[in-house]
Symmetry: C2
Subunit: 239 residues, 2 copies
Amino acid sequence: MPTLDICFSPELLPLFDLKGKVAVVVDVLRATSSIVTALASGVTHLVPFSELAECRAMAAQGYLTAAERDGRQAEGVDLGNSPFGYLDGVVPVQGRAVAITTTNGTRALHLSAAADGIVVGAFLNLGAVADYLRRLNKDVVVVCAGWKGHFCLEDTLFGGALAARLQADFDTTHSDATLAALDLWAAAAPNLAGYLLRSAHVRRLNHLEAHQDMAFCIREDEYNLVPVFRDGRIESLNH
Amino acid sequence: MPTLDICFSPELLPLFDLKGKVAVVVDVLRATSSIVTALASGVTHLVPFSELAECRAMAAQGYLTAAERDGRQAEGVDLGNSPFGYLDGVVPVQGRAVAITTTNGTRALHLSAAADGIVVGAFLNLGAVADYLRRLNKDVVVVCAGWKGHFCLEDTLFGGALAARLQADFDTTHSDATLAALDLWAAAAPNLAGYLLRSAHVRRLNHLEAHQDMAFCIREDEYNLVPVFRDGRIESLNH
């Protein structure tokens, strides 16, 4: 039976041997939720960058640009890091490619390069990711983007929710991180929004837009798609 | 109100600014439990070493030597890492000094050097540590020794138990790590032994001696003493 482990911070990734495994990168608030929403809204693919300047420069190649620093839209780009940017129609996104950079999510994607495959996970596509991992039948490491390297609740809870869906098919007992995430998920699931309103990260984003984003980002199974990161691009599997 | 944060692994310590704060180093299974037991059993002080050879060499200066590697007593030393080594009378410890090295605990002590003060915590002296921190009234970071850098349940649960005792006097809500540890403690406290028997680390130590050690190491408030690490030595406060 393959194993499911959880890495609580990109800073801990050097402890994990990703070779032969699938990395599921998650940044619930909000990078990976926005990536899933972008692809569901007709974006052809996304290219993640670490540096804002690199991201901005992609406009010259016809890319839409999306950038967030410390929770706010960066200057001189088309979109921020809110999933509603892909839904509200202000910037038409259908058929476009998007260059993105975010504080934590992009970093986690690039640091997972040693894995056999890299999947982008969020509550929005939880079931699709679970089904895909079940079919692959390989060891999984959930890579939590965290907050500037620190443990954060929402990404850990995604790990717990994924482990709960895969308990019959994966060994979720060999790792203390997975055991902890399962128990936190059990505590949070009955009222996930209420639970996350206690979180330090969510309180940092304590304004109306952030609360609307959070309410959307914790919806499970909104989209039936699996974004994969390969050759520098994120695109929907079977795209 | 001072803050109480929890660092889940020594690998994450570079993210924490320990200046002006008190570090509480914990390695429940078994280094810090053994240190507390040693001082309670009449050991005058302990000197922690990273390298086994350095530890062994202290025998020439009249020190008892205690060393563990991968959960077993190392060769050519007087004691392993079991607290019962200080209780069973096989090696008389009263009035002796002890040189120790362990896989995870010693490393966490040395990596906490930037803190204003370093305290050794365990369930065995939970109440004494809580009282001391309340008197100091400074920001606290609980440094979990973890297992070879990985998150581990038992040290996290100590962090949660300490946070629960200090909730009235410390801000335990500003850190997602502390919030998570409090919730895990709430889930585990009614049957801590049963809870830890699920843990990966505890199952790795799945033999009689380890289970006896675990049963002892999770007793709360067995000893009313606060070991502090300064000038290279661990000794009881007010010693």
